[in-house]
Amino acid sequence: MPTYNLNINGQAHTVSADSDTPLLWVLRDNLNLVGTKYGCGIAQCGACTIHLDGDAMRSCAITVAAAVDREVTTIEGLHEAAKHPLQDAWREHDVPQCGYCQAGQIMNAAALLDQVKNPSDQEIDDAMNGNICRCATYTRIKTAIKTAAKNM
């Protein structure tokens, strides 16, 4: 089995995995970073969203090989003290119901707010439409994104 040098949340890791292993499963099974979730495996639900060099990506759709020499950020490393404006906004609006999709929602929204300072409703919808929330906390997610945008 080949080994790969990865940079996850600023830390170097060497993992041993088959070359076709999605980054999602390396994060979860090799590195015990289980904040990134499995929901569909085909980039349709967004639960596995991470940042690759700052861009939101579905980690189920990237192989471990594609993550080498790139900066990977997961929910665990989004903010050192867990005080990213989105995390604070999530606290303020008590967003989650079951909570399973929420890390992916936050990671996707974080990438949006990095690129768009004050997103409109349409821009939020377009950016977030790839993230399913089965419990339908959509209205709270949107409210939290707008709150966070003010504090970025």
Binding site: P96, G99, A103, I132, A136
Partner: protein, 718 residues
Amino acid sequence: MKSNLNKGRRNFIKVSATAGGGMLIGFNFLRCTSDKMPKEVAAAMRAIPDNWYNFDAYIKIGETGLVTIMSANPEIGQNVKTSMPMIVAEELDVNWHDVVVEQAPLNTEWYTRQVAGGSQSIRQGWETLRKAGAVARKMLVETAAEKWEVDASTCSVENGVVKSEDGLTIEYGALAADASLRELPDTENIELKNPKDFSIIGTSRKNVDLENIITGKPLFGIDFTREGMQYAVVMRPPGFGKILSAFDDREARKINGVNDVIRFGDKVAVLADNTWAAMKGQAALIATWQQKEKAEDTAYHSKTLIDHLQKKTETPLREDGDIEKAFDEADRVMERIFEAPFLPHSCMEPMNFFAHVTDEKVEMVGPIQTPQWTENRIAELLGRDKEEITIEMTRMGGGFGRRLYGDFALEAAEISSISKKPIKVIFSREDDMLAGTYRPASAYRFKVGIKDDKITAYHLTEAFYNGSMFGNMHSNFPCGAIENYRVDSHNIKSNITTGAWRAPYANFLAFAEQAFMDELAESLNQDPVQFRLDLLQQAKINPVGDPYNYEVEKFEGVIKLAAEKANWSENNKKHYGFSTYYSHNSYVAEIAELELDENVPVVKKVICAVDCGIVVNPLAALNQIEGGIIDGIGHALYGDFKFEDGRAQSDNYDAYRLIRMSEAPEIEVHFVESDNDPTGLGEPTLPPAGGALANALYSATGQRLYKQPFVLSEGLLG
């Protein structure tokens, strides 16, 4: 409800940091607030104690005054993990900031009804939880009173501090050791607070797991790990009615990380060191199947359901008067048929469970809505005593009824028993969507006789796979308001496995009924809201037959509140749709507002009125209410699930559509003020949503809808 409050008494137990697997399944050191706390509150937060003193099955208090409240019920996102401990904390009279919540495992001696289902957790737990708090409070107060040599009745409590009339004070932490040794007071007659004095119940409190969720901590069954664990991904029959003839695992075994392949019944499990290897192994299995039972398809389902609707049954669920006579004498008869597909539950966390079966014990960990029922079945499956079985409940990434059935836990137990290894079964999304236990397909026929512009006969016929409407649903509104009334139900067998899906029966019947009522009101030239109110008054003044299954005043309350807030009398001509339903003990009325965006109707807003008695946690209640409405709208619009050759034709989200953020309407919620004991919210706002939407769509487009999903109706939506 049985109360086991005197169980769980031990003098003290030591702090335990984590349960197995490195997961904080049990003790959560985080306090029950997670926002920026005022400095003086943060500074005053209590330290983690060295010792815990048990008061009853729900409460442990440490010498520092920190309080652990056990949450006994499974958590599927309905937030009982916050609301139920709030009820205990209220009667205990502690500051919510001093409370930590721990998920209790299955414990049939200490707790009754550790179930997530039917929107019953708070309703059925209300009295027991209040008593649990009150009982401990009494023990603490009596201990203080003894120390001071005063009458306990002269003492008061505020924020976990007992006060004497003279101004002496002792904190709960200082009293806990002695107080926990007292005889448990009589719970039958224990004094409970007047709701006027509530300072926790009725206030908005944040989700106790909020911090863990937003920082990606291991919380869900799928996150659970154990040293030496094997991941098991299972090949199941590719269609209902099929059995396994033979399989070839040579390619599967060649995959790196795959360690074993085990057949059990008609299924084959691939065991591997990691999830990806197990998934690849499963995909590499080659199997031949035999069609043992009928391979059903959607055309067959539809025809069968519709055919049954024309027949009566031998034993109607309810019959008042003589509908046939009334139909004969009617000026006109109106008949409509509504049809619903099977639906998967689509929990975001796919099914999974951990099992470790050894000679000594059977250890189970995972997401389950019915741990006790599951324990019984595991005992039966493995031939073990229940005393040897433990079940730890993890947080669940959605339930919606799917995790009532525990089939996934039984698989894990069986594979672990055969392999003699700790096993975690994981379903891929495809496994999950194809595995069954669906919301059954159904059809309803409404037939109404009208004479002199009055409804004289009402005949509801249900055709339902693997079930019939349950409890007193046959006596739901408008039963009691109509002289000749009959409900027939055909329970038709299907080999497609089915189960309860959020608001069973009501999740489609409510749409059918409320859409039909809208059409009926229109044909009688009546306003839809007034139409319901008139029928309700008839049921009240001149009730027909056996008692009906609703309270007129409560229905009127939500209908009038919703109509008022939506300004119905002004607006009802313009793209508004009304619907009202009573289910799971709560009353709901909804008014949906549509906009036409270049001739495509868009759901803009839903105004909702709810009567659920006392609202325990408004912040959490709103989340459930909004979620239920959007869930109802989403599945009514998009939920399309077909079968061919006994196999579902959708196996992932590229072939199955769930509602997305851009499609979710704004929701405005109004509660009917009430002092009644609380009733549930997990399900009640879903049933009326489809009807409100359908009626609004009619208002906007002139098209009536009789089938779900709405998007497949010709010429309606894009």
